[in-house]
Point group: C2
Chain length 543, copies 2
């Protein structure tokens, strides 16, 4: 009888251990496991253990370090026999970690062995970067121009794009910044460089097209101070006066005549003259973009941003570890991988500084965490602002354990580099790109860093997507993958089901990434055109 078989299959004890050194594992079965359950290759349960909660794999004497993700997440307050439920009352919590006396680059792990022979089909850019999509981006200096730009984008889609079939689409880089902001505040550098660097994302082919109002605080020269995009300006009343027309370092104007369309230009008479200016400028760029062709490039040209959102008890057990395994594959293949989400990893800082490749990298990690601690304090909150009420109920004993479940996305490679928010990435290997955990803000900052592929794990489910870069979504549970079958790209729930290993899913993700990067596959968010807003990280005041 199928029902009975299914019930028996569901009842077969499933546990997940995250690291070879771990002395606890978590119970994967729906509804947990009853006393007497014989764990595969381990002890018999002495009591009921709820789903997502920890069981002792060996006898843990009082004072013993309880190891999960290969790190101590606490210390046994009494003898805990093998097969016991290791709930949070049996653990002495590590104190919230300050930023002094951290282990700095102490792990000294050997570099991972190289992984060769993997390639994808990408668009090689003049600056050496590689795009995975071929998009016309329209940079906006200020929210004021968003309505006119949106109107122009509709006409570009209807009238111009059909003539340029190699171009995948047009992306208006709309945002809420640019005026009514304290543009000289110490922290204003973050939103400004974020916008600058997003314009230079590899998927935009080095074509920088700008729509400006004219009187905004974020003048085009301020947005691109040294980039030298040509600015055709006839703003008689502009406070900035006639603008210089600097050239690119190579001496060649990147965008032809007039890389910037200024709506207040006195030559504009009537709304349609503004729209027509944008279309004319777009066509200059579309012609060049249309000539781009995919070519075979090594997997080392991937720049992958990983993050999680809508997390559940299995995020740190299935999807994030599978992403972590894939991160190692990418690092071994010579690619760039960024992990982020400062408020989520903050309490695992000691693991991060230990993993830093050099003391300088460890110092940079501390610098970013200290900056964020201070930023939260200025706003009257502390880092508990990130925790959720469901954490302990879901089996997470404390903040270190929670942070490790997020950090596990970063795999095991040494941390080779640290980026401040909005900075552009130039290094290979594993980078900590400091960003808030907010899905939209993290994604926006990873775009600015130059990612050409985005991996997003989710347990509760989110339809998150970006217009500029493909987003691969990984489900933590099979139930979510089933219900959201046309929104989730990869199901890591098979790990909890006992049907696949972390390595299996990590490899499947790696191969899928090469297919998506090559344009052979589209993500579900791309197929439905689900795009979240750019949300800038602006820690400075508005005015």
């Amino acid at each position: 009888m199928p029902d009975t078989l299914a019930n028996r299959a569901a009842a077969a004890p499933l546990t997940i251990r995250m690291h070879a050194e771990d002395n606890v594992a978590i119970v994967a079965n729906d509804g947990g496991l009853p006393p007497g359950s014989a764990l595969p290759g381990g002890p018999v349960l002495r009591e009921r253990v709820p789903q997502g909660h920890k069981v002792a794999l060996v006898d843990l004497p009082a004072g013993a370090a309880v190891l999960r993700y290969g790190v101590p997440i606490g210390y046994a307050v009494q003898d805990i026999p093998a097969g016991s439920w290791v709930h949070e009352r049996l653990l002495q919590m590590p104190a919230a970690r300050g930023l002094d006396d951290l282990p700095m680059a102490t792990r000294g792990a050997a570099p991972l062995p190289p992984l060769e022979g993997f390639t994808f089909e990408g668009y090689r850019n003049p600056d050496g970067s590689v795009g995975t999509r071929n998009l016309l981006a329209i940079t906006q200096t200020v929210q004021c121009v968003a309505g006119v730009t949106a109107f122009a984008v509709q006409r570009i889609q209807a009238e111009l794009l059909p003539q340029y079939p190699n171009v995948d689409g047009v992306v208006a880089l709309e945002h809420g910044y640019g005026c009514g902001v304290a543009i000289d505040a110490p922290d204003a550098a973050i939103p400004i460089r974020t916008l600058r660097h997003i314009s230079q994302n590899p998927n935009f082919g080095g074509e920088v097209m700008v729509v400006s109002l004219g009187c905004e605080k974020l003048q085009p020269e301020r947005l691109f101070p040294s980039e030298g995009i040509p600015i055709q300006d006839r703003r008689g009343t502009g406070s900035a006066g006639p603008l210089a027309v600097p050239l690119l370092p190579g001496g060649e104007p990147r965008s032809g005549a007039g890389g910037v369309v200024c709506l207040q230009d006195e030559a504009h008479v009537g709304f349609m003259s503004m729209v027509d200016s944008i279309l004319r400028q777009a066509e200059v760029h579309l012609k060049r973009l249309n000539a781009r062709r995919r070519e075979t490039v090594p997997a080392s040209e991937l720049v992958v941003g990983v993050q999680c959102g809508g997390s559940d008890a299995f995020s740190g057990v299935t999807a994030n570890p599978a992403v972590g395994f894939c991160t190692d594959l990418l690092v071994r293949a010579g690619a760039s991988v960024m992990f982020s989400e400062t408020t989520e990893v903050r309490d695992g800082i000691a693991q991060l500084t230990a993993r830093a490749a050099t003391p300088e990298v460890a110092q940079a990690l501390v610098r970013e965490m200290a900056w964020y601690d201070d930023y939260l304090k200025r706003g009257g909150v502390d880092r508990s602002a990130n925790t959720t009420p469901g954490n302990k109920k879901g089996g997470l004993s404390n903040i270190v354990e929670k942070a490790m479940g997020s950090i596990v996305k970063s795999g095991s490679a040494p941390i080779a580099n640290v980026l401040s928010p909005g900075e552009k990435l130039s290094a290979k290997g594993l980078t900590y790109a400091a960003t808030p955990a907010s899905d939209f803000i993290c994604g926006t900052l990873q775009l600015a860093a130059g990612m050409n592929l985005h991996v997003f794990t989710t347990g509760r489910g989110t339809p998150y997507g970006l217009a500029a870069v493909p987003v691969i979504k990984v489900a933590t549970r099979s139930d979510l993958a089933r219900r959201w079958h046309d929104l989730m790209d990869i199901n890591a729930g098979t790990i909890a089901d006992g049907q696949a290993s972390i390595e299996d899913v990590g490899w499947a993700l790696f191969r899928f990434m090469l297919d998506v990067a090559s344009g052979r596959q589209k993500t579900w968010a791309e197929r439905w055109k689900l795009h979240n807003q750019l949300v800038l990280f602006n820690p400075a005041p508005v005015t």
Copy 2:
């Protein structure tokens, strides 16, 4: 010969005095006026005076108060004979104004005489408010759902709206808030109540429709804690657990079954099931909205938000004073008018507190200014963050004079009420609604306050518009009105040209407002569908 005639017309001296007590006026002529020019009804110029700069109308002995907008903007440092250029070096600047020892409700002006008999055709709502448009608004609890909602809105527009011809459109209330934010921070109340109150804008007919993800920090119950919109919830994994289904105070569910569509609802299988849920819910609201009919209501039902953006030297001389005159008409007609832009009016605080109707109102003004001073200080800047380099060149001697040019939009009525950012307005008469000067943030907060009509003055020109409320744009100069003939609704430049008085333009604006409110006229931004983003004011940290 027409050329000569035109030149002679252009050369006819034009000056503008803002207030009957003023002892200076400004020169309106392009290029300024040469020495020897005889001012209409005033002295002969002793020297060249640039456009937008001040001329002494009478002899000003050393130490005399120089009055503009009826207030002292400085003191003569030497004898200044009538007909002299009163440049900033001849004025002793008032010190930047602290918040102590202010005149509190000292002006004691008589209330303005009532103005009766003016009406418009509006949509009367169950709560007594009146809409000027008939829109379906879709509230979003978090940015995560924006892509799915945008997809659904396209289908609503294509499939449903044609069946409901009395509905003017559908507005997705997209924003960057809702998750990844310090939702318990002291300042988080501002973005949360802003979203809540925008959902209740009179143009949305009291129909509150919400799309939620499910796991976001801004749960629907938190967004509408006491409003009692029904929530149909089958989120088995939701941390909030099964939700209560509170009713409206009247006991009648406002939105039929399921005012909230939760994407993580376990009943949703596949992307289209989410879209279909949104469409089903939309139809419930569209049916009721379609039954709304315009009826004749008194002008006192207008709730007008005024602001300026892209200002120039004539903003405080033509457009803003004309708006100020119109503000008085509205107040006389019993309507609600909000003026805002804390960073722009901050240095005129003494004029505002003096004009307060009561000491309590004056105290509330001081409270809002003090809060903003502190907010800027936390971010490492001060209120000079608002000033622009072109101010002095344009003839503005100091920050008080600049502030008065913005405050003049508020007319002459006593300030009857003060709103904190994101609060909802319930008072008639003149209100100071504290907001940043940022056009998009100010507009978003005035929407939350309940405005049903928006007036926006601009000198440099901006295509600003909102999806929820008509925006009437007033140009400060005829040249802008000519070039942007299909973006500017009212030309106040005729005041500088000597062709119309401030009163003429103020009355024209008042009558145009009644036409726009009635739907007999559309604004240019409406015709082109130019919509700026909602940009929330979130002084709290993101996480």
